[in-house]
């Protein structure tokens, strides 16, 4: 009987302690979390939305939401995985709005592929190899624009953020097999565009 009372008292004391003293999370030190992950979250946002202002705004929202919901972070996944889960949801909400559709149509703030192509590291000096590299990058850039929202998220997480399939599955809350299927479809679109770009070159060479 006495031991039962002691256990009950212990439980109630623990409950009180958990109410009064919140559990420390890595997001308490938000400054260091932002310093570590801002670059990657912003990159994902920018390549996904292709709008610098929107990417900046949603990157800030990602960290704000993470901080606000920090008590729900149990540490069962990596900080980056948790942040990217928030980022993916924010992008989904953002692209659903009519305002986004309007601005996408108006094409006011969109990033041009030539701006991005300037950042290709040209190790080769020949002009031809540079042009080929620019063209290859442009094919992927345009193919990504043709993907569905879900395919684009998964494609960028895999090929820009370099995450493995299980990490992507954790972020998107999808089974690995579904993640793979989305990647196969995305790569099918990319291959088709690649093939289409090669065929005219081959025909030109044959004609010559």
């Amino acid at each position: 009987m006495t031991s039962q009372v002691l256990v009950n008292e212990g439980i109630s004391a623990l409950r009180e302690a958990s109410v009064t003293e919140p559990v420390a999370t890595p997001f308490d030190d938000l400054e260091s979390v932002v310093a570590t992950y801002e670059q990657r979250v912003f990159r994902f946002m920018l390549v996904s939305l292709r709008d610098r202002d929107a990417a900046q705004s949603l990157t800030q929202d990602t960290f704000l939401r993470a901080w606000m919901a920090r008590s729900s972070f149990r540490g069962d996944c990596a900080i980056f995985t948790w942040l990217m889960r928030i980022a993916v949801n924010l992008i989904r909400d953002h692209t659903r709005t009519n305002r986004f559709r309007f601005w996408k149509r108006a094409d006011a703030n969109s990033v041009d592929v030539s701006e991005v192509a300037q950042h290709i590291p040209h190790l080769e000096s020949s002009l031809e190899s540079r042009m080929i590299a620019n063209e290859q990058m442009a094919i992927v850039w345009e193919s990504v624009a043709a993907l569905s929202n879900r395919q684009r998220d998964i494609f960028l997480l895999r090929f820009v953020e370099d995450l493995n399939l299980s990490e992507i599955a954790a972020i998107t809350n999808l089974p690995i097999s579904t993640v793979k299927s989305h990647l196969y479809r995305a790569l099918a679109i990319l291959r088709a565009r690649h093939t289409a770009s090669i065929l005219p070159d081959k025909k030109t060479k044959e004609a010559v």
Partner: protein, 181 residues
């Protein structure tokens, strides 16, 4: 496995090689796929080309994002910090401001107590007129807003009535002209 009917890699096999993850259930093991790549220049060329495109895409995206974020951070710093020249000698400026205040304050107080400006009657009248006209304008706007139909749309509410009224008016005018003649 690479079947005799399909001399090249299937799409799933191709993707597995790009993803370098676990092979698809319909795919075969990597060793067999790599054997095929060694023997098939077409598949090998396509795989190399596609992998290179993806690498270029990643590198360009990263470089671009890095540059954009650096610009944003630079703007943020500019917004937070004051211009460097104001920071150069803050103590000098602060002491100069205190000195100026100490010198000018007694004069200002004396000047204020010596001559209290009398309110100008004309200015008061003008301001009261302006206030009245402003109030009238605001009332008019309030009425317009509270009306169920805006004044400019009233003729459209009952087009028949307005047409009738217009035609009646026209008839009256015509008869008046005839009488005058």
């Amino acid at each position: 496995m690479n079947s005799p009917q399909t001399p090249h890699l299937t799409h799933e096999q191709f993707c597995d090689l790009i993803l370098a993850g676990s092979p698809h259930p319909l795919s075969s093991d990597f060793a067999t796929l790599e054997q095929h790549l060694c023997a098939c220049p077409s598949c090998s060329e396509e795989l190399t080309r596609l992998s290179r495109s993806l690498t270029l895409f990643r590198e360009a995206s990263s470089g671009f994002a890095q540059q954009q974020l650096a610009e944003i951070r630079a703007h943020r710093t500019e917004a937070v910090l004051p211009a460097p020249h104001t920071l150069a000698r803050p103590l000098y400026w602060a002491s100069a401001a205190v000195l100026a205040l100490a010198v000018l304050a007694p004069f200002g107080l004396q000047h204020g107590s010596a001559r209290t400006p009398a309110p100008d009657a004309a200015a008061i009248t003008t301001s009261s007129h302006t206030q009245e006209s402003d109030e009238a304008l605001l009332e008019e706007i309030d009425q317009d807003i509270s009306a169920s139909v805006p004044s400019s749309m009233r003729p459209l509410v009952d087009p028949v009535a307005s047409t009738t009224a217009t035609s009646a008016g026209n008839t009256a005018a015509t008869s008046q002209k005839t009488a005058e003649n």
